[in-house]
Symmetry: C2
Subunit: 407 residues, 2 copies
């Protein structure tokens, strides 16, 4: 992915970096600890819109409405509240989501089904609508082209920092920008359904193609991060493309399409890595490459098992070069490989080669493991397929954060 | 399983409770922290023998030899060392296992392939054979019918207490005993390959039937526990049946066979629960019942996902009645169920009914969650299949134990 750094210039800002987008973040008093908890994103004109949604059987009511409102591939407004997931509440939860969309629609003078709703937080508690409805008025009147950062703050739950990215590139001499924001940070797991991400762009693209590209870019980014293997009931990625860059419409199988997809992937990978690095209690970002696997599935199974293993993640927290746990996780992953021709390295340390332990310098290992960014390479040497996933270590703070989240 | 309490009388002791078994536990100096690290179990006469082995692609060398030596369904001696897994060492690791079996064979005057070898501990370090070989002499000369407890201590790694069980019952007026010992306590996960368990019995049974019954009883016990979802490269269950109770041979599809299987299952369940309760850093044993599922697979998938969820396990550590995480884990498990007719309770607390949160008394919840044994019931109401799994909570101590295990 290093080529991305050169191909695209990361600009300041996030979702309001593209032309024609405004945003806001306000406090409705939903979160017990206070702070911003309602984010709004608005496009000057109707935008092509697409989304990817949780695979969890249990689904939040706001998410259900959001997916319905995306059926026509068009939207102008995204509403997200943090602090309450609006889930497991029966018909009243869905009605609350409808009331939110109606309120946004009335305030902004847009169609109700052009509002995409999202809620993240605790499950099973009714949304405090008496607080939310007046806050929507406030959020709408606060919309601004400088509002991206506040919006990125308002969607956070246990995250420790906001996650914003924007990149620009040129399509036939016209500048196109993609912006994004995301929240993690527990319940992050491959196969989406893992977080909330909002992407905006002034590119001119049909919603059909946008949907395909959103899936492709997410499969290389958001679907490759893991914090604790849990997936939540409310998580999704949304994208709005309003076309205000003024370029011609991006058509499939053109160099312009390739460039747009590459840029979208770059934004998504950067957000995904920010999420993994901010995993609950994380002290390190761990990049796991599985190389030369027999099939893409074998590479993915092994990488996922390593990324999800509490024993591997705790060893990284302990700054312990425990390649045995990495090999063990690959071993039970279901991936087809031969341990006798497998090699493992962590950063510059070769620890295991062709089935045999390699003696290494413990002092050098400690130095490598101290770093905040660690790369693990597992080389199966039995095929040609590679994959990369990102995870974080498992620390005392994870326990603290999650032992008392609800109460 | 409550019927087991009445049907069988648990007796003192473990693997040396059945007639004709002796055991010992000695210190060879393999473990850095010192203590007993070699366990030996011996049958006066050749016994029917069976085993179940790790499904991990990476397999310890001692385990490989053990499985080979079981091919004829006969054995007399079990050797297990803790502190070193004898894994990932190439041909020298297998040769070490052969040397161990040869030494036991010479000391005990038995065939080398009547020795079953096992090693548990760190991966990738050669066994200290200069320490182990003389210790085998010591272990053989220490064999005693009172040696079960020392043997149960010698197989432990990060366990905090030894795990021993024995039950007796009558087959046609003759007393038959089954004894067992096991070690956990991390890397415990359904599908075996999860721990070391040794079972002994003076029942008279063919190795073919013994193997079938070992699989059946393990599927209801050892394969239903989870500590962290990791499976190790060295784990197995072994059973020796020497027939010295003097009963007729147990034949398939007889009341005697049913009784023997029930007793074997009772011993295995008790050991499995002891392992789950002693999961690394565990403060609570959590029993998860999934009821009225569409298929046994759906019940199992949901129960396993709940048992493995770090978010669920951390909530129990925090004594937080977070049913939302239980439902969420079921939701991403792949089990087929409808959240709108699902109910969840923890002990006497009804928390979620037919898709809706139920308000409950937080003080009462705290009382329930304080207990050391907690039962969770998830009722899908869409079928007739039930399952039970056991797990533990995820605590600060898990992090401490695993952050610095190797070094």
């Amino acid at each position: 992915m290093d080529f991305l750094k050169e191909q695209f210039s990361y600009s300041n800002g996030g979702i309001t970096a593209p032309i024609g987008f405004t945003a806001s973040g306000v406090s409705a008093g939903i979160k017990k600890k206070g702070g911003l908890d309602i984010a709004m994103v608005f496009s000057e004109i109707t935008a092509s819109a697409a989304g990817i949604f949780t695979l969890n059987k249990v689904r939040g009511h706001s998410l259900d409405l959001c997916e319905n409102n995306l059926n026509d591939g068009k939207a102008r407004c995204i509403f997200i509240n943090s602090g309450n997931a609006n889930a497991c509440l029966g018909p009243s939860g869905y009605n609350d989501a409808i009331s939110i969309a109606a309120k946004c629609s009335a305030e902004l003078g847009i169609l109700p089904n052009d509002v995409l709703t999202g809620s993240t937080g605790i499950i099973g508690h009714p949304l405090p609508m008496v607080k939310i409805l007046p806050a929507i008025t406030n959020a709408c009147s606060s919309l601004s082209s400088y509002g991206g950062s506040k919006s990125a703050l308002a969607i956070l739950t246990t995250d420790t920092y906001p996650k914003e990215v924007a990149v620009s590139f040129f399509l036939n001499s016209k500048k196109v920008t993609i912006g994004g924001m995301a929240k993690g940070s527990g319940m992050i797991h491959p196969n989406m359904a893992t977080m909330i991400g909002v992407l905006t762009t002034d590119a001119n693209i049909s919603y059909q193609l946008l949907k395909i590209f959103l899936k492709k870019s997410s499969d290389k980014s958001f679907n490759r991060i893991s914090v604790d293997g849990d997936t939540s009931v409310c998580d999704k990625i949304l994208i709005l493309a309003n076309g205000l860059s003024g370029t011609d419409e991006i058509k499939p199988n053109t160099p312009e399409a390739d460039l747009f997809l590459a840029a979208l992937t770059a934004v998504s990978v950067k957000l995904a890595k920010l999420i993994a690095a901010d995993g609950e209690g994380a002290t390190k970002l761990i990049e796991i490459h599985v190389k030369n696997a027999l099939t893409p599935e074998d590479a993915h199974k092994a990488a996922k098992a390593i990324a999800n293993s509490p024993l591997v993640k705790t060893a990284f927290y302990g700054e312990d070069a425990n390649w045995g746990r990495i090999l063990t996780a690959a071993g039970y992953s279901g991936a087809d490989f031969n341990p006798d021709i497998t090699s493992i390295s962590i950063g510059p340390l070769n620890l295991f080669k062709n089935g045999l332990a390699i003696s290494f310098d413990e002092t050098e290992a400690k130095e490598v493991l101290k770093k905040k960014n660690i790369t693990v390479i597992v080389d199966f040497s039995n095929g040609t397929f590679d994959t990369t996933v990102w995870t974080c270590d498992l620390s005392h703070d994870y326990i603290d954060i999650n032992a008392n989240y609800r109460t």
